[in-house]
Amino acid sequence: MKKVFERPKSLTDVPFSYCPGCTHGIAHRLVAEVIDELGIQERTIGIAPVGCSVLCYDFFDVDMQEAAHGRAPAVATGIKRVHPDSIVFSYQGDGDLASIGTAEIVHAANRGEKITVIFINNAIYGMTGGQMAPTTLPGQKTTTSPYGRDTEACGYPIRISEMLSTLDGPAYIARASLHDPQNIVKAKSAIRKAFQAQVDGLGFSLVELLSTCPTNWGMTPVESLKWLEDNMIPRYPLGEYKVIEGVK
């Protein structure tokens, strides 16, 4: 018998530090599989964020650089400009990218930096203990919105993919979800297009992945996937938001 599914080579052997059922692990595997399939492991440089995935430099078997909170797109810009032949990606959560790092992501996208951003949106701050994020849904309970997010005081969730797709810089922007095997396959296809766009030198690419946080949502992993499907997808519709000519 031959192996038709195994651990991708672009992941190290280090066990993930994430909570049981956390979809970070699925996203890591998809990124590593795409790096393997495109044959770019030796020239890929990843930027680790601040958040639960801060330790992802231990998990990806490529060159990695840690960035200050939210600044991954700025660090990626520098690395890509100094090493234009490398493939540079940042891996960021919603607390990192959609809150403290909003300025960096908007301007990196607007400049059309030839980098790829993997954006994990689980509607909450994970590592710091489940506080409200800019992506938290209206009415969603978190430790800093114990009665549910009040849109009068805290505004509405930011749709990063839609917002960035209005700019001229990006080549490819898509939102996918990790809540079932079919959508995981679609998510991988989007990640592959995003990396391919960079390999082809087309411009900025971003894939937003709807993810879970069972621990801070206060649900089991199985309940979390259902909650994502029922509550997040209506608020964050899946699909490709920007595909310029030449993306394949």
């Binding site: 038709v4 970070h24 692990g25 079932d180 095997p181």
Partner: protein, 76 residues
């Protein structure tokens, strides 16, 4: 469907149960065993029934599962 079987690297399992919810032939279940990290692990109860759809491997957040598949006639 092609014949094959999943292989679980039980020491990496965190017992999240996601794999048990997606199997179309219902052969992935939680075991009574506790691994070295203190989690109850998932297991395959009837590997002969596996259709190698890879759904369990795709949804596993910890890359616990490998899928083996018998070579098809063309490959032999």
């Amino acid at each position: 469907m092609a014949k094959g079987r999943p292989v679980f690297n039980e020491d990496r399992c965190k017992g999240c149960q996601l794999c048990t919810t997606v199997c179309p032939v219902d052969i992935v279940h939680m075991s009574e065993r506790i691994n070295s990290r203190g989690y109850y692990t998932a297991e395959v109860t009837d590997p002969d029934k596996c259709i190698t759809c890879m759904k369990c491997a795709r949804i596993c957040p910890d890359v616990v599962i490998e899928i083996l598949r018998e070579a098809t006639k063309e490959e032999k």
